[in-house]
């Protein structure tokens, strides 16, 4: 595939359920980012991987949020015991190089819209 793909595109969860959101980055891209976009807001950083290493998880809002990228390609964002405030669009982005300076473009996927009822 040519771009970043995410699945599912839409997810409805009952409060308290666990969810897993998947991101397939562009093949060969070293860096992978997760962002959370609440309604009417800009995306907010959650976490960053360089290959399989999670280098920054400072944006994860609570210990209910967990992300992994075990083989340095596909990544999964897991949310345990979902709450209503977790309702948002979760965006994944990838880029081709490690980003010490942030000089390469991040390519975004279509997002997963999570609704917690």
């Amino acid at each position: 595939g040519a771009g970043v793909s995410q699945s599912p595109r839409y997810k409805v969860a009952k409060r308290g359920q666990d969810v897993a959101l998947r991101c397939d980055p562009i093949s060969g891209h070293v860096s992978l980012f997760w962002y959370q976009q609440a309604l009417g807001q800009g995306p907010e950083f959650l976490t960053y991987f360089q290959n399989e290493a999670q280098l920054d998880k400072s944006g994860l809002p609570s210990d209910r949020f967990f992300a992994e990228r075990p083989e340095g390609s596909v990544s999964t964002l897991k949310i345990q015991r979902t709450q209503q405030e977790d309702s948002a669009v979760y965006l994944c982005a990838s880029s081709s190089l490690g980003l010490a300076g942030g000089t390469v473009e991040q390519y975004f996927g279509p997002g997963t819209r999570l609704t917690v009822t």
Partner: protein
């Protein structure tokens, strides 16, 4: 904490009108600056970027932006908008050597009337 402010939440223009969307950021060190666009039903995509050099940068579809370091601003402009420019526009920064995460503004929704 670093932040990005976009002054207009919703802008409505007629076709052929000129556009300027404001963006200010709060970090005083070295930053890389971006404008992303999200057309209805589509992914976020890069419109233009500034890393260094000429502070006037040109992007796709006739958009340009000017980096004014003294004002911490990176305003987006287009001389004549089209109906197809209807979209949401996000300004974003990357703070140098802080891992490459984008810090976004809250977005400006642009509606262009045909």
């Amino acid at each position: 904490a670093q932040s990005v402010s976009q002054h207009n939440h919703h802008v409505i223009l007629s076709e052929a009108a000129s556009l300027e969307l404001g963006c200010n950021y709060s970090y005083g060190g070295t930053v890389n600056l971006f404008w992303y666009v999200q057309y209805p039903g589509q992914h976020l995509q890069l419109l233009l970027k500034y890393f260094s050099g000429d502070p006037l940068v040109k992007g796709i579809k006739g958009f340009e932006a000017e980096f004014i370091k003294s004002k911490f601003s990176f305003n987006l402009r287009k001389p004549s908008v089209q109906w197809s420019d209807t979209a949401e526009y996000f300004c974003a920064v990357i703070v140098y050597n802080q891992g490459g995460k984008l810090i976004f503004g809250q977005g400006t929704e642009l509606s262009v009337k045909p």
